[in-house]
């Protein structure tokens, strides 16, 4: 996996990769179920089904280190750390500060993302306490569905139903996470992207934040089918304090 990530790093030409991700989300998400852009249609069969589970697994210690790298050490050293097991996430390290660090896999990408189910994708994040109490349950639910071998359509329907029936919580006020790992890997197209923070809200159409405008460090992602709006704030440094690409 490390070799895969390092090889992919070489494909990242600059720090605008994340901008591209966000821009793609902005365009694609509202279109889900209506009409996808042609590029997405071209790419959507890249990973039509789950790869063997082994391809999504990591060495336990490497996964703990990667999860912690999502946030500055001052936060992640006292966080709970989860690792992916064959039947879902397991607690590898108990925490003391209410944060939870976890490496999400590609089934947490938007359903119409061409990288959905890409076994190489590694998305470490450290969720703050309000997010750990609410948004993390979506990670658990989606992971359970993926590991159970459900199709993308079945997963979509199951998650939609869970939110429709209010079995899944909406983001708590103040729910946010750190995503500042230099080793994060969004897939072969977007590589390591940029370090950023993400803030989650119950779906809103009237919260603008200037997202997606030229020069703004703010991006927005409307989840689907989850009634969740995500604001993404690019920051200039990785969790280890080193500068991220800026061009």
């Amino acid at each position: 996996m490390v070799a895969t990530i390092m090889a992919a790093k070489g494909e990242v030409v600059n720090g605008r990769a994340f901008t591209a991700v966000a821009a793609l989300m902005f365009v694609v998400i509202p279109a889900f179920g209506v009409a996808l852009p042609s590029r997405a249609q071209d790419d959507k069969t890249l990973y039509p089904r789950m790869a063997p589970i082994e391809q999504y697994m990591m060495d336990r210690n490497a996964e703990i280190a990667l999860a912690r790298s999502a946030a500055p050490e001052a936060i992640s050293r006292d966080a709970e750390v989860l690792v992916l097991g064959r039947h879902g996430y397991e607690t590898a390290v108990k925490g003391k500060n209410g944060f939870v660090c976890v490496v999400e896999r590609s089934w947490m990408a938007p359903f119409d993302d061409p990288e959905f189910l890409n076994p190489d994708q590694r998305l470490p994040l450290c969720l703050n306490p309000p997010a750990a109490r609410s948004h993390l349950l979506l990670t658990f639910k989606t992971t359970d569905l993926a590991l159970a071998g459900l199709s993308k359509t079945q997963m979509f329907d199951s998650i939609k139903s869970a939110f429709d029936k209010k079995e899944m919580p909406l983001p708590e006020p103040g729910a946010m996470c750190y995503m500042m790992s230099k080793q994060q890997y969004f897939g072969r197209k977007y590589g390591n992207a940029d370090p950023h923070l993400m803030f989650w809200f119950p779906k809103t159409d009237n919260m603008f934040w200037g997202a997606g405008l030229p020069g703004s460090p703010v991006y927005v992602h409307q989840y689907s089918p989850e009634p969740i709006t995500e604001f993404i704030i690019s920051v200039s440094k990785w969790s280890d304090g080193t500068a991220a690409p800026t061009d």
Binding site: P72, I75, P129, F201, W209, I233, V235, S236, D240
Partner: protein, 111 residues
């Protein structure tokens, strides 16, 4: 808050009078904080403090008073800081450093 503070300053009130006035205003007249309230502060020409640098490119998020640790604010290498400037009004201000001015040029970031 901006209007009220400005009004009291321009009226020539003392710092103590302003503090008392703000307390009363926050109790009786200040509207409830809306979810997602935030501002851009990315001007290269801003002058925030007499301290070194004088300025810092950032976004500010307004929340009810909360434990700053909930956002991981103020710890080593975190891009998030708690600004207590509106604590008397019952509002926390979380600042996120952007590392970039509004014109797209790089801004210094000293955690």
């Amino acid at each position: 808050m901006t209007y009220k503070r400005t009004e009291m300053v321009l009226a020539g009130q003392s710092k103590a009078q302003i503090e008392e006035g703000i307390k009363a205003f926050a109790k009786k007249e200040l509207p409830a904080l809306e979810p997602g309230a935030f501002t851009y502060m990315m001007s290269k020409e801003a002058y925030l403090t007499d301290s070194d640098g004088h300025n810092m490119a950032h976004l500010m998020f307004y929340t009810p008073l909360m434990d700053s640790a909930v956002w991981g604010a103020g710890v080593d290498k975190s891009p998030v800081m708690l600004n207590p400037q509106f604590a008397r009004e019952g509002i926390d201000v979380f600042m996120v450093l952007t590392g970039m001015w509004s014109d797209g040029t790089l801004a210094p970031v000293n955690n």
